[in-house]
């Protein structure tokens, strides 16, 4: 349904999107995940034809975005980063305007507007001025605007931004409800979001795709889980020898502190078993002094952040 081939956007000297290629099958929900400024919005704007690509091609349902823009525009619903709202209008008349410019035939217009209001949980706000709506409701009007003409392809730039937790769940359900019949690309910088809504995830950083997989696989890969922080008076070699034998210890990183012989140690452990008592015992048996031992759990976001920074370091090294 969507084919992107080495899509590139250069702003001045800097490339915001750098040879990005991917494919989205019909009915798939694909999440675009990346830190702010990674190139998500720029990529989406190029998918809709709002921004022209510096090079590369985008095809939607077989139509080239640059060459057959009108055909593409008929087939997409787009929620930009900032919902494009005429705040002086009422919700319903705004959707009527959008339906008209999406050239929806007048016979089905009223019905489609009702449907969009219902799907975005806006039915009771249809006569409100958009100006009087809260941030969350405005975001929903933005979503209703994207789905009012029942497009084949939905491009949603941060659809849950500005919503409260309850609304976020509703929007996720809405998106899941559209799956199968619609092809959806959504962007987010919230990791759990993609695992809950998407079939596939593209992680984008510095304008490049750094990982592409199903959320399940990514979460397994990313489940680095747990770390222990130790403060020990010991020599590094001896300490490593003492700890390496323990089942469940993965990696040991030690830094010498300046206060004479003490080490600050970070031990990566597998999350399945609790090895803290064993670690403590081994240290004491080895004749070292244990000052501190605490366990900390890495959040998914933290791991994701590490992944993207590591990956970009690697690619930087490769380039150098």
């Amino acid at each position: 349904m969507i084919e992107v081939e080495s899509l590139t956007k250069i702003f001045g000297q800097k490339s915001a999107v750098d040879h990005v290629s991917f494919k989205v099958e019909k009915g798939e929900i694909v999440g675009f995940l990346g830190p702010n400024g990674a190139g998500k919005t720029t990529t989406m704007r190029m998918l809709t034809g709002y921004l022209p690509a510096s090079s590369g091609t985008v095809r939607i349902d077989g139509f080239d975005v640059a060459e057959q823009s009108m055909e593409v525009r008929k087939r997409i619903g787009y929620l930009p980063e900032m919902p494009p709202l005429y705040t002086e209008m009422k919700v319903e008349s705004y959707l009527d305007f959008v339906a008209r410019i999406k050239s929806l035939p007048s016979a089905t217009r009223a019905e489609r507007i009702d449907r969009a209001l219902e799907m975005a949980h806006l039915t009771d706000r249809r006569h409100d001025l958009i100006r009087h709506l809260s941030r969350g409701y405005r975001q929903r009007v933005g979503i209703a605007q994207a789905i009012v003409h029942d497009p084949d392809v939905l491009i949603l730039d941060e659809p849950t931004a500005g919503l409260d937790p309850k609304q976020i769940i509703e929007v996720r359900q809405l998106i899941k409800g559209l799956a199968g019949t619609h092809t959806i690309i959504l962007s987010t910088h919230i990791l759990p979001e993609v695992s809950m809504t998407c079939d596939r995830v593209l992680i984008i950083n510095h304008g490049k795709i750094v990982a592409e997989d199903t959320p399940e696989n990514l979460t397994t890969q990313l489940r680095g889980g747990e770390r222990l922080r130790l403060l020990v008076r010991a020599d590094e070699v001896g300490l490593r020898k003492a700890l390496e034998g323990i089942d469940g210890v993965r990696e040991i990183a030690a830094t010498a502190l300046r206060d004479g012989g003490r080490l600050s140690v970070v031990v990566d452990v597998s999350p399945e078993r609790d090895v803290r008592s064993q670690v403590a015992a081994r240290i004491v048996q080895g004749g070292f002094d244990l000052y501190e031992l605490r366990s900390e759990r890495m959040s998914l976001e933290e791991i994701f952040l590490q992944l993207t920074t590591e990956e970009s370091d690697e690619s930087a090294r490769r380039e150098a």
Binding site: F11, G12, P80, M82, F97, V98, I101
Partner: protein, 263 residues
Amino acid sequence: MRSLWAIYRREMQHYFVSPIAYVVGGVFLGVAGFFFNGILTFMLRQAMQMGFQAAQMGGAAPPLNVPGMVVQNFFAVLGSLTLFLVPMLTMGVYAEEKKRGTIELLMTSPLRDWSIVLGKLFATLTIFAMLLVPTLAYQAFLFHYSEPAPPWKILFAGYVGVLLLAGALISLGEFLSSLTENQIVAAVLTFGVFLILWVLDLGAQSTSGGIGALLKQLSLVRRYNDFTLGVMDLASMIYFASFAAFMVFLTLRSLDSMRWRRA
């Protein structure tokens, strides 16, 4: 065509809910009424004085068409007021869409650019025409009280002329609005350009030779003045229409270039 209508309708709605349109309309009608009253009393006094002078000299008063003079002068003032009115109507037309991000909706919808540009142009022109409607009351007033009746020809030519002038100025103002996302910048820019147009016209009057003749040919204000004298010149009509068409073309280019610039 349907989408042009949709754009037109939304734009009209926008004028009706925006305070700017009401303030601009109110001020315009107030000032126009003030000038009409001023012109009328001035002309009447003038006519009376001439009548006195003629009586003192012992002759008949020279024929003086007071209603005709009033209408002519009123349209001259209306032309100048249009120069001040239009920038306030056009400043937000594109600038606001850009600022609010709604331009992103328009540009990713299956609309031709020209239906956006023409829809907006016709909407502003309609609003302007609606502001002129109350001034018809002044003319009705003249018809009721004046002897001889005011000249139909000048009235008709005057209103046609002011609409043509407004069409040209609005298309220019909307083009300038498409260059920025700041309404104030758009307004100042438009005022500036209109002022230059005006000054150029004054320059054309004082300049002789080839350049003066050229400026006279190009001047919107000068061509409008012909209409206030009751002269409906086809060449002038075509000139106003082509001026507006050229501005529409520039606006289309400007919309197109938005895609290519850093968004």
